[in-house]
Symmetry: C2
């Protein structure tokens, strides 16, 4: 059963509208997440104005991490600005009390505006038309606008409105804030402050209300009510039949962590934020929303317009949906912050950053908005202190990036205990923070990927080299010498496939570690030769001379699993020896996680079952290392054993299927990937959208069907679009130039729009090409 | 509009049942509070198994105070054991989704059992009969039993049950607990632990479920689910039409603060509590509830049976309602704990103890269950350390009891900031903790009252004298010499009437302070003469010799306001000089607090308006000091200016009206007092029941209409029952004997049931009497 509807957009908004055409309290999380609003500074789940049991009202501000008690740090759920309770003729308005019809809720991806409308009535009210609108501004990142229109169609009604700021919200019961000040200014502006208890970040929230009837200002009886952590206004009015009441609520939020507020005293922060609201609220909802809509057009859609001309409009919508969320999840404004695994759309994974950023979301920004990509990598640079701490604590050298990353110096923030073991009844230990160590290679890969696509030498000089070199120092210290076999091993790890814990010589981990050492040696030599000053600085800091000797000595002795007689590379030392069982029952996207209803983790470890792409990711990152035959054999072996229980799995498989020339299969996987958040399963997005999957959608389209890849520093474009697509258009940045790419069944057309470089070299199906202004390549020759 | 119905009790349960005959989400707090369950160890608000927006799910354990951040200490809201979510054919069961009929929810005061039943159906389920039962055991104070019966009347149905322990609850957003351990034992018992963050009290909760169909055990598909602070089982089953599913959930809770658990390690506490549940759950719901019901009969109703034979049964119900709550609010099991102003029925006043105990609830226990009264006073003795700290911090000597009291050594715990000032928009400062100092006299009064009624010399020797003497030391240090007038004053206080802040020479405060000094001098002399050893001990501790000189020197110079030409005693130095306004609009019990919609506290201070009884309380406590004429003149002056905005006001006025011979007026006030929690106002009990008002109900009946009073150490009985009453029967304890009193229109009959003393002296209408076995007095002679 799905309530979703994606084909309601018309005209300018065709394939821009995601909608829900009925309402159910069983599935509140779905639209709260997929229709969530934001701008990278703040993320606001789209919980409705009126409250329901089962809702999750979250407003998360990027980077404002706080630790409660001895739990791991997380993004605190800020006081709620969006709750507006309505009483009609003394009865509470909700959609489950009274009756409604003509229901629609929709998010306009183009304008960033959420809209909800229906006709509702209770026992004695007659029919009433309701319309709720809301946006989080992309123009003023601190601002939230709300508008409610109420039109009684049959009778005069009495309306009571309760609205204000509610700091009683928590993170699933955890309270991160001290209560601060509650104030009302000029009988109009409510201000509420709160301070995170451990990290001592001040939050200041302001809100104000405005009432109009048929567009004329009216005076409304109002009464302040202050409760614990709560300041509300109660408004009472009578509304005549067929007249329209418009309620506007304009709110903002600032924190002492905001770069623009650095150095402001607490009192000044309160004034500063209130001044902003005083200034903004005068404009009114319509103008404020227009400013935000324009920002979406100017900053995003005019710059990264991807066209999928498909028989099925859903795919055009899906890629826009992915882009929309990639924007609102990303704190592009502040390089001290990164993307959480659920963006800012829910409490899942506590706002922590994983390898998801470098491997799944970063490529979008590298090719579409390189400045943002750089900011995300600068975050890793700024967290080197924590990565060094982690390495040291584990007895290693260099920089070991944390599996889960939060504020700059936090280091590892993965929680230690998870859900119940169904066999023993005890919570299971979460091992990823201890032994899922490949993230260090992933950060290096992201850095190298960015550098090669952008040619951003300034970034490399300031951050990139140091990351890559210090991670190599970690890897060489992590290698374990096997005296018997005369090789270096990496034992006791978790690879990308998290259903195999405590394995030895995970292929992904070993190959990428070796690759990191190779890369470090290469850059060591280049720096020593060409950038003496920088080399001296880094040499002093990282003791490079001594380390490079170790890299050179060890790198070729690292054990790299090779294809067996069936051309299958062992995922790790024991995977291929484990029991093979019938997985049909679990291998179905509507059954994500169902395997653990029958097995516990210990049992899963002893079966040839995988959560997600493992060696497949290796094939994508270092694709020139492996032959097509090897890739195909491994696909045939591992994919049937892979449950795709991680949302990171499908897009990798889709892109790889493209590489193998399996366009039909790739298309099937792409469609499944589109469904991870948008699909008919009404529960899977409850804890927030799947950020990596949304980055993965872009990868399916541009890296997969578009065939765009950076191979060893070179641009390669091997596009093949699905049968049902007429053409695919997209922009990419390469070495500072913006290229427009258009692929149809017959031709690949490319155009250099910015022309900063006189020529762009690229390869296509093994051939070498040069793009000057425009180029057209026949695909089927 | 009221949903309440009080006349549904039949047969054995006539006038024992309070009911709600319809359900509304607007008024959830009313029944959560007035139907709350408990046993003095734990209090459980009667939030329903299924959740609703606006509910308050509270389980409070007496004495387990914790401080969050820099807020004042409060009783933390323990993890919820009572939530049980039901899904019928995939749709959530709530009373606002689907349709219901034949609704009734009722609390049986006699058995302590809560019952809820109705017929319900959703779109596709056909009619289903539901019955929910619940109790908190008075036999095993750690135990909570729940039972649900579901009978589909028309079709087979699919039922999903989600039930377990939910630690995501908070105190209005404040989280007092660290998350502890989550475990399942034997695939049957769920255990959840939590620890208060500052006071480090371990809580261990256990629960287990049992399923039967038509009384036969069945196996049910179950799946554990562990979430943050939450352990739940999911059960799935199919139920055939006309068969009855019985779900039983038996739970318990222990804390490391429990006296019986002192010395147990955390691990042992977990085992100990689980062993208890294993043992108890075997008995099943019916037997466990019977054990609790028997405890109610044996410990309470057989001992304190009050009979009101009135034309209106509501009054008999109301006094039982008061007694029921007086039992469940009172931590009789532990003298380190006292009664909160809302009992354990809600978060209002944070579980803190006020003067309410000594002046409003203690009398019930003094006359009905003296052991409990002693325990409550021992609490004050055990908090002397905090009282001495408070005096010292304020620059005084001796013991100054806190206006709000919590754990033993906490001292003053009144919060400093309250609701918004409607004029300035800022929160108002709460002054009571600083300057409402009469509570020190009130504790002394309670001590003296208890001693005189019980003759409990052991208590006096161990606790009572020290309290009285140390409070006198406080008072003499608090007196301020007025050089001009040659008198001692007590300035800058709040008297019982809290609408007058920062007043000088509040009559209640000055008179009771003087009385405390007199009493101290009297006991000083008695001790010195008759109890030399105790005297020496106390003299050493309290420096009595030096202090008594000061008492003697100062006591007669304390300014005691005397009646003016109109026989009115000034409530304080300035009350009579303030503006008199028309209060009609606010003087109405349905409008409690409405005055503050028009005025702020500063303005109230300048008007002759009172929140509650002030000088009237003085007339009750020290009634022999004032003539009937003075009492009447003051009544006539002050009552019209008193809004009864405090629930402490009506019962005092009722009792005093009786003293003035105004039985009809007294009866009217009594009925209003009955309505404070039971009445038609569906919102006033939201934060919890009004403990003092319920103690006051007993005072109306026994001290008022029953005319029972301790005057200067002597028993006085001047009964006058209302016209509509045929007779009134009640027991009282006097000097260790239990007396049965029966009053009708013509006679007063008294009987000594226990006969420990050969004679009981008492006065009636000025005459002196002696009770040996039985006595009958004609009233109208």
């Amino acid at each position: 059963m799905t309530l979703m509807k994606y084909d309601l957009g018309q005209g300018d908004y065709k394939n821009w509208i995601i909608s829900e055409n009925d309402f159910s309290t069983k599935f509140l999380g779905k639209c709260e997440s997929i229709m969530s609003l934001g701008n990278g500074y703040l993320g606001l789940r789209s919980a409705t104005e009126e409250k329901y049991v089962g809702e999750t009202r979250d407003m998360l501000i990027a980077g404002t991490f706080n630790k409660f008690d001895d739990e791991v740090t997380e993004l605190p759920n800020t006081a709620d600005l969006t709750e507006i309770s309505l009483y009609i003729n003394g009865e509470r308005f909700t959609l489950i009390e009274g009756e409604y019809s003509d229901y629609n809720r929709s998010l306009n991806l183009k304008t960033g505006e959420l809209n909800r409308q229906f006709i509702w009535q209770n026992k004695n009210s007659g029919k009433i038309k309701f319309e709720f609108k809301r946006f989080v501004s992309l123009d003023n990142i601190h601002l939230i606008g709300q508008q409610i229109k109420i039109t009684p169609l049959e009778k005069n009604i009495e309306i009571k409105v309760q609205s204000g700021i509610n700091g009683q919200v928590s993170n699933t019961g955890v309270q991160h804030f001290s209560e601060g000040d509650k104030r009302v200014y000029n009988s109009k502006f409510i201000q509420y402050t709160q301070k995170t208890i451990e990290s001592k970040i001040d939050f200041v929230l302001n809100t104000t209300h405005d009432f109009k009837v048929d567009n004329k200002d009216i005076d409304v009886n109002s009464l302040i009510s202050m409760d614990r952590r709560k300041v509300f206004y109660n408004y009472d009015l009578t509304l005549e039949s067929e007249k329209t009441l418009t309620i506007e609520k304009v709110s903002n939020i600032y924190t002492s962590r905001d770069k623009e507020c650095e150095g402001l005293s607490y009192d000044r922060l309160k004034e500063y934020s209130l001044e902003n609201l005083r200034k903004e609220c005068i404009k009114g909802y319509e103008k404020l929303q227009k400013e935000s809509k324009n920002a979406w057009q100017e900053k995003i859609w005019s710059k990264v317009n991807i066209v999928i001309n498909s028989d099925d409009d859903y795919e055009q919508l899906a890629i826009r949906f992915a882009q929309y969320h990639l924007v609102i999840m990303t704190p592009a404004h502040d390089n001290r912050m990164n993307i959480g695994a659920k963006g800012l759309s829910g409490e899942g994974y506590k706002g922590h950053t994983f390898w998801d950023t470098e491997i799944f979301m970063l490529p979008y920004f590298i090719y579409s908005d390189p400045k943002v990509a750089r900011s995300l990598l600068e975050y890793r640079y700024l967290t080197l202190k924590g990565a060094r701490k982690k390495a040291k604590e584990n007895g290693y050298e260099g920089a070991q990036f944390p599996w889960e990353s939060a504020w700059l110096e936090d280091g590892e923030v993965t929680p230690v205990w998870g859900a119940a073991d169904i066999v023993t009844g005890k919570p299971e230990k979460i091992w990823t923070g201890f032994i899922e160590i490949h993230v260090t290679s992933d950060v290096v890969y992201g850095t190298w990927h960015y550098y090669n696509v952008t040619n951003d030498q300034d970034f490399m000089d300031k951050c990139g080299y140091e990351i890559i070199l210090d991670c190599a120092i970690f890897w060489q210290s992590r290698l374990e010498w096997n005296e018997d076999k005369n090789i270096f091993e990496i034992n006791e790890v978790i690879g990308p496939d998290e259903y195999k814990e405590h394995v030895n010589n995970n292929a992904f981990t070993n190959y990428t570690a070796k690759w990191n050492l190779d890369l470090a040696i290469k850059y060591y030599n280049e720096l020593k030769e060409n950038k003496v000053e920088l080399f001296d600085k880094l040499n002093q800091k990282l003791n490079l001379e001594e380390n490079v000797a170790k890299w050179i000595e060890k790198k070729d002795k690292i054990y790299l699993p090779t294809p067996n007689k069936d051309n299958v590379i062992p995922q790790d030392d024991t995977y291929l020896t484990k029991e093979i069982i019938d997985l049909t029952k679990y291998k179905n996207q509507t059954n994500v996680g169902s395997f653990f209803k029958d097995y516990n983790m210990k049992q899963a470890n002893e079966i040839q079952v995988s959560k997600q792409a493992d060696i497949m990711v290796l094939f994508l990152l270092l694709e020139d290392l492996f032959s097509e035959e090897v890739k195909r054999s491994n696909w045939d072996y591992y994919e049937p054993k892979t449950l795709h229980d991680s949302s990171l799995s499908l897009s990798t498989h889709c892109t790889l299927a493209n590489d193998l020339g399996e366009t039909e299969l790739a298309y099937k996987l792409f469609r499944q990937a589109c469904d991870i958040d948008l699909g008919p399963n009404m529960k899977t997005s409850d804890a927030g959208i799947h950020a990596a999957s949304l980055g993965g959608l872009w990868q399916c389209v541009i890296n997969g069907f578009g065939g765009v890849r950076m191979i060893n520093g070179n641009l390669r474009i091997n596009p093949t679009i699905p049968d049902t697509w007429a053409n695919l258009e997209f922009p990419i940045y390469w070495h500072g130039d913006k290229l427009q790419v258009n692929v149809d069944k017959e031709t690949l057309k490319m155009k250099n729009i910015t022309k900063n470089n006189s020529q762009i070299k690229f390869t296509h199906k093994g051939g070498e090409y040069v793009l000057v202004d425009e180029i057209t390549i026949e695909l089927n020759k």
